[in-house]
Symmetry: C2
DNA sequence: CGGGTCTTTGATTAGGTTCAATAAGAGTGG
DNA sequence: CCACTCTTATTGAACCTAATCAAAGACCCG
């Protein structure tokens, strides 16, 4: 059912352990090749280990182009990944080949953690844009915690944070309406862009409606309609992938949409059809049902 | 909206660090007081550390009665819990006090992990039956990994396992129909009971329809109706909390229910109503749409 | 320019929620 | 022990949200 559009055009995933393949130097030169521990801690938003010799650990970067796969399900696990720049998605593939989007890792996010348990990746990671990733071999990850007690807590903390994030997803999928899900998604994106130093008010989506829908447990049509509805009420502006946030607070507290705007048309149309005569009357009040 | 029935009758949660309060000795005597490392590893289904002195680490047990809260949201975190016996639920509480069930920890499960990141528990854990829990102070948890390299991987592994489990939940909530969710829930319960040495074919639910519904992102009515429907088709038997599994394979592969049984009645009723005359005709074939 | 992918929008339908009423247990106290 | 209450479970009917099916427009890239 789901398209695999991105996979179709991808080239073979380069072996993560490899570097300085001279053939793609033109693309690589725009990325760093190594990071030290301090940079890593900043990226992960964990307290840096002041006592640590900066050059004791160096961490290699790898670049991936849009559409490339970083790892696939079942592939032997040995390294974690930290996003230095770029956007990705992680997905689960069900028995029919349908994708279920689990997360959209971006700058400062760690992924690959699901591979620790079974020593094989449980999900697949795909680059949604050109990406610069930092390789964090699992051995190095654990050694880090062992060598520097101050960092040990950070190692567990980062994993715990992922867990809390997933709990939030479960809660959202289990309890919120389509509108509320899309609203929260936009807010969280906005927050992330702010953290990264970009505009929180105007940004481009890096993923398709389909991917958003999969992530939120909705169809692409519902996502598209909801964005249009938000646009009509003036909460946001939408033009294809470009999103402008107009009323963050409303988005944050939104539970469901009022029977206004586009929905009113449908309702009115239905009634008109049933009654077989017109007079749609006054437009409903433009207020939101919120907290 | 949601009731807080359990909390109403609960007594104060005893301080986890406390033991041998003589006043409740009558109830405590049915539980162990200490476990060693080997028992802990068995319980968690991780390879035991053969080289380790069994008495080097001892782990204290605590008992909780039905309805008691083990920890609440926001409470300072310092210990993880391992279920030795009994059944619990972990829940998130939203801004209106509604519960969102996240998991049903049972024998061998670890919980409290979500507290590591912010040093406060992100969820609440409640005993659904009398429980015997093993306290695992986070300090001890990390020390364990540090002291025994063979165990270090196990520590991370247990956390990773939780993450994979939650990914499965997200996937389920995002993609499956109500029937499929209930079916999978029953299968996973059945499997767990089998692991614990109980019957996988006949068991009692420890949670209410409401809690199941919350866990699966459904209403209690839908859960009840779905169970009734499974019963009618002969997949299971239902009598209140008692569930008998009759056709595991069908449950495992079930995607949606055929327009038969109870649903047929609704459909027939609707049509009859529309047409304003009878003749519901033949009953649809009793086959399942499965893999 | 043409073919593919992605997005928007409309019409219809189905699956699940909501509201409501009844029944079945489990405790409690007279 | 039974009546009374409270919680939990079942079932029905109406409604509604979001999925599905369908078509057309926008964008991108070779």
């Amino acid at each position: 059912m789901l398209s695999t559009q991105m996979s179709d055009t991808r080239t073979e995933t380069p072996p993560p352990g490899l570097h300085s393949s001279s053939s793609e130097a033109g693309w690589q030169r725009q990325g760093k090749l190594w990071s030290n521990l301090k940079e890593l801690c900043e990226l992960l938003r964990i307290p840096a280990a002041s006592s640590v010799n900066d050059e004791e650990f160096l961490f290699q970067h790898v670049q991936f182009k849009t559409g490339q796969r970083i790892h696939t399900i079942g592939q032997p696990f040995d390294t974690l990944y930290i996003v230095h720049s770029g956007f990705l998605k992680t997905v689960l593939i069900d028995e029919f080949g349908n994708e279920q989007v689990l997360s959209f890792p971006m700058k400062g996010d760690l992924f690959g953690v699901d591979g620790i348990h079974s020593r094989r990746y449980a999900s697949e990671a795909v680059a949604l844009s050109n990406c610069d990733l930092i390789l964090l071999p699992f051995k190095k990850f654990t050694a880090l915690g062992r060598a520097h007690v101050e960092l040990e807590h950070a190692m567990y903390s980062v994993m715990s944070r992922e867990l809390v994030r997933e709990q939030g997803m479960v809660s959202m999928l289990g309890a919120l309406s389509a509108e509320a899900r899309v609203a929260r998604f936009l807010v969280s994106l906005s927050d992330r862009f702010a953290e990264m130093g970009y505009s929180s008010k105007l940004f481009n989506l890096r993923m398709t409606r389909h991917e958003i829908g999969s992530y939120l447990g909705l169809t692409l049509e519902t996502v598209s309609r909801t964005l249009s509805a938000f646009n009509e009420i003036g909460l946001i502006t939408v033009d294809q992938r470009s999103i402008g946030i107009k009323d963050v607070d409303a988005l944050k507290t939104l539970r469901r949409l009022p029977p206004s705007s586009s929905r009113a048309k449908q309702v009115a149309a239905k009634k008109a059809k049933q009654l077989r005569d017109a007079a749609p009357g006054t437009a409903p009040a433009e207020q939101l049902e919120s907290v």
